[in-house]
Symmetry: C2
Subunit: 392 residues, 2 copies
């Protein structure tokens, strides 16, 4: 639902939440005297313009089957910005707790939270548990929220850092699942990927290396290429190349054949798009899969008929959100356990705290300034929100 | 193996075949006094220039496990011309019976033959049986040949016309398999295809109609569109459109939605390529498959990331030759039986007889003149060779 910009003016006044049930004695560990804060928008548009913060009161007791959670860290992912721009196929539902009029949306698809109160009938969770919400567009850019226990996956608390846990539901599972769902890869097999320095790309390198799978990794040319190559090789990359190396196509194909000693390259992962994909594709062997999970160049891929017909190439996509939709709680927990057990390197990150001492106007300015930095593409690491509970 | 053009001059003289085994009393129904004829080439190049005919003696008795066959009708398929041009990924082996030097190639991938002699140990075949060879590039443009019984599929003689049987191994199975191998289509489902007037396209229409599957069929605009539409609808087409109708994309999508009453289009078949494919793709539903089996426009297809990632689109190819390679005799026979039982309309065709009375020079001229007609693309129907045994 898209409302006009003018609706935002109504947010300035605190909105008493008449729909809250009466507090009960067993209610939460949070102090009722402290309130919560969400990053919100009322209509799709540029996030560096449209985002505000919004303060709301302490959560009521969770209803049966639900839990209250407090977010510890919530990352800014590129797809979050697409959602706010309206350029993503899934939009969050309006947040009816924040505004019964259905005119407020909370972005954020990922984050680490802690359970603060447990509703009746929830056996699997306790206060203090670390959890992630495996439901897409659940709105994680918020200090606290009530969620259905069935949408929650518990993490083993001591086994994973805060930043790793806050970024565990999207990128590492994308890498993990793309490496197992399409081609039955064995030790010694070869794969190729572009955008190898992305969060997913780095997870692919690490997971493949753990399984003894060789990776050919393409990145943009840059002044500090040697340094990046060294860093990706330290993660387990077999070979690192730049897109410039694709220009001499014959040489590239020959080089790959030498590396693989003629073994087929069985899987290609693509998060870029454009003409380089067609060039990379030429080294793929019989019955290979080309899996697209992003489109950073915002260009389609061009596929000649010949590899489709004669080489059995299969071109498809992967979307972790869809995976969660089509898999139950047990599969999700197994996935999280498997990923934690891989002990992937914590992502390079920066935490941006929204201090509790700021009022909503100041907090909103900080949010928009941070988004501007992300949009400029110069940060070079993952930014995570830490949204403090606003002071009285 | 590609030899120089000059080698052809050696063909003028009849080549005695010293490698033939001694004749046995049980040998064949053919008269030893009559010889055979093949259409041949010695090097890849334009078929209207490079093809010759070549006369060779009566076949020896088939060795154990083999049968001798006489071809009744062998079609000219577009891929045959690609093979002769060297523009196909599979080339025939040199015909070592015709020339032990390995410098003669016999084109032809399809055709109806009759068994004329049966080698020891072959239980399943008798003299007079109608058969097809389900082995790619076996060289069917020949009056007679010895083949391994295991490569042969027997047809029920009275159940199918000569022209249908001669064109049964490539196009109808391509249509039949594409409609069953990728998407589990149910009665009432919708599919879309381009090149709907091609041999495969017409088979798709008929097979889909038998199964209660609705087809949206795209063809080139032409003066006699209404006539073609009527003809395809008589075969069972649900709707027939021209590529011009794709230009008004919104209208096209809306039209399709009205027809399908919102049901998803689950399969798209493509033998053309180019930008129209991207336009047609937009009407596909969740988890649809786009299957390419040809590239008449000789242009790649352009695939945006969004349908791959968010709609689960799978883009792949189909090649009937590969299917035969990966399926055994039982599967092949079942396939032929299933297709014969569908009673598809006999293809519009013209039979070009290479009369036994012509010498090789005259016969070669007739072959090249026929190929020129096919290359011009104005024949409008399938041409089938009937290669008579040359007179003494």
């Amino acid at each position: 639902m898209i409302r006009s910009w003018r609706n935002l003016s109504t947010l300035a006044a605190f909105r008493p939440c008449a729909q809250y049930p009466a507090r009960s004695a067993s209610f939460s560990t949070s102090s009722a005297a402290r309130a919560n804060r969400a990053i919100v928008y009322t209509q799709v548009g540029h996030p560096a313009i449209n985002l505000r913060t919004y303060t709301f009161p302490t959560l009521p007791l969770p209803s049966p089957g639900s839990v209250n959670i407090r977010y510890r860290l919530s990352p800014i992912n590129p797809s979050d910005l697409n959602v706010i721009e309206g350029a993503y196929p899934v939009q969050p539902d309006p947040d009816m707790l924040l505004s019964p009029d259905g005119d407020l949306f909370v972005p954020g698809n990922e984050g680490l939270a802690e359970v603060t109160a447990v509703g009746d009938g929830v056996q699997s969770l306790s206060v203090g548990d670390w959890i992630v919400v495996a439901k897409q567009q659940s709105g994680t850019w918020v200090s606290a929220r009530t969620v259905r226990a069935e949408d929650v996956v518990k993490l083993p608390k001591g086994d994973v850092s805060e930043a790793s846990a806050a970024t565990i539901t999207v990128n590492p599972p994308t890498a993990y699942n793309m490496l197992r769902e399409f081609v039955d890869l064995k030790e010694g097999d070869w794969i190729i990927q572009n955008g190898a320095n992305s969060a997913v790309g780095q997870a692919v390198i690490q997971i493949a290396a753990r399984r003894g799978i060789n990776t050919i990794n393409l990145v943009r040319n840059r002044d500090d290429f040697e340094e990046l190559e060294k860093r990706l090789k330290a993660l387990g990359a077999t070979h690192v190349l730049t897109y410039d190396d694709l220009v001499a196509r014959r040489q590239f194909s020959k080089q790959v054949k030498e590396w693989t000693e003629g073994a087929p390259v069985r899987l290609m992962l693509n998060c870029i798009g454009g003409e380089n994909v067609t060039k990379m594709m030429k080294v793929l062997g019989l019955d290979a899969h080309l899996v697209t999970y992003g489109a950073m160049a915002r260009e389609p891929i061009s596929i000649p008929a010949s590899p489709l017909i004669f080489k059995g190439l299969v071109v498809r996509g992967f979307w972790q959100s869809r995976w969660y939709e089509t898999h139950g709680r047990k599969d999700r927990e197994e996935l999280m356990r498997a990923i934690i057990n891989l002990r992937l390197k914590e992502p390079d990150h920066e935490i941006v705290t929204i201090p509790g001492g700021l009022d909503d106007e100041e907090a909103g300015q900080l949010v928009r300034a941070t988004i501007r930095r992300v949009s400029e593409g110069t940060v070079g690491k993952k930014i995570l929100w830490r949204i403090e509970e606003p002071a009285d």
